[in-house]
Symmetry: C2
Subunit: 236 residues, 2 copies
DNA sequence: GGTAATATTTGAACATGTTCAAGAGGGGCA
DNA sequence: TGCCCCTCTTGAACATGTTCAAATATTACC
């Protein structure tokens, strides 16, 4: 599909279309932010980018795909932030808090159109379903961040295998809550994140205490087995 | 909007439109089942019901609203089933299992278009958002079923206050899993339900043991406080 | 039964996401 | 320079959800 040869010859100069793509992309996001996703039409976007109506479809397969591309960028911004701040940050609670809160910071101004990300959640075959094939790489990258946050902390081998995935799932829920949260600066979501993480930390410490460890260990095994059986294991 | 007077006079005979509504409704569901939600057009539905294209909108405000009406029916079927089977069924595990599994039974043949229910999950203002105002009555009724399942079991006052809501949330997640589950007869979902409930039951017993109760009690309080703060308390 | 009010039905028109055949532009190469 | 191929762009056309003013059927009431 791609001609490697031409790339080598012309390298420094961006392909001409690259600029158009970015133009469309940025204009679309601006409109989404101001008017919302629904209220922005593809014709609005094309007009704002000074291209023909159909041009957008040369770069994005659908309107939702623009939001999906935005989320790719979010993901990579987030990965960078996490990479940057994780080194030197000690303590599981602080590390997880950082991962969650930086994500929310990045999303802060875009709550208006984030809902579009969840539009195909219930449609398995769809390219843009959060749980579908198309988002597999995304999921992997995102769970990887949580896995890194766990590095160096005292959690059992079992937990290490599924906690990242559970945290990713929880983080999706938090984003949903965030979208619905009308409190000032979404303070309620921030509190919820802190509350959940405090509780999680407490629980982990509790389950690590010699008193209950013998009871908890088999439970962790069962949970792991259950999630594996549910098909979660397939994705590593 | 309604004339109470006329209702009293003419009661036995259904309004003429009622039959049209049902016709449209049933034909729509048939098509959704066979072709799926996306692939069925409003024109298809109207044609199948032998009415004009626009007629559907006299009875349903949108295409998704048909699925929403379907879900209303599911809800009421479910409530009936639960009412019927709950009396005489002893043991929390069995009672919860019944509630979950009967729900899945009712949904079994309609997985193809259930996804439409989740389409507006991320859009707070939307009438059909699962978490929005429009579904408040639904949520209340559904959580009420779980509350009833808890009746007569040994769970703390704190847990009784939020477990039904947590179970409702979990049941939403299970429906999502169900939709994505391509295993034979969705056996994986059934296993997941059983696994989750077994684990929950074990956990509840564990937390009720005198050994750990002193530690667990404050945790329950914290969790309750957290959920209240997150705004969950508003809905009773 | 007749009549006015109300409920229902119609189908064209509209808005918008998406497709597509046709064309413009531009760079490599003889 | 002229030609070819590939990338990019265009805008009309299409499909489909939705709206609406007008027409028709039904009902309530005398």
């Amino acid at each position: 599909m791609f001609k490697r040869g031409t790339e080598k010859v012309k390298d420094a100069a961006k392909p001409a279309g690259e600029r158009t793509r970015e133009l469309i992309f940025e204009r679309a996001l601006e409109l989404f932010r101001v008017r919302g996703f629904e209220e922005t039409t593809m014709r609005d976007i094309a007009r704002a980018a000074k291209v023909a109506t159909g041009a957008t479809y040369y770069y994005f397969p659908s309107k939702e795909a623009i939001v999906s591309a935005y989320y790719d960028r979010v993901q990579s911004l987030h990965a960078a932030r996490v990479q940057e701040e994780l080194s030197g940050k000690e303590g599981l609670r602080a590390r997880l808090g950082m991962v969650m809160h930086t994500k929310l910071e990045i999303l802060q101004n875009d709550r208006m159109f984030l809902g579009a990300l969840f539009r195909y959640t219930g449609e398995p075959g769809h390219q843009l379903s959060v749980f579908g094939k198309g988002a597999e790489a995304q999921r992997k990258q995102s769970t990887e961040l949580f896995r890194q946050a766990l590095d160096g902390s005292e959690v059992s081998e079992e937990l290490k295998q599924f906690l990242p995935w559970v945290l990713w799932l929880a983080h999706l829920g938090i984003i949903l809550f965030f979208i619905h949260d009308e409190s000032e600066s979404q303070a309620k979501t921030r509190k919820l994140v802190d509350g959940v993480l405090d509780l999680l930390t407490t629980l982990l410490e509790f389950t690590n205490s010699t008193l209950v460890r013998p009871f908890v260990k088999p439970l962790e095994r069962r949970l792991l087995g259950m999630l594996r059986e549910a098909g979660w294991a397939e994705e590593r």
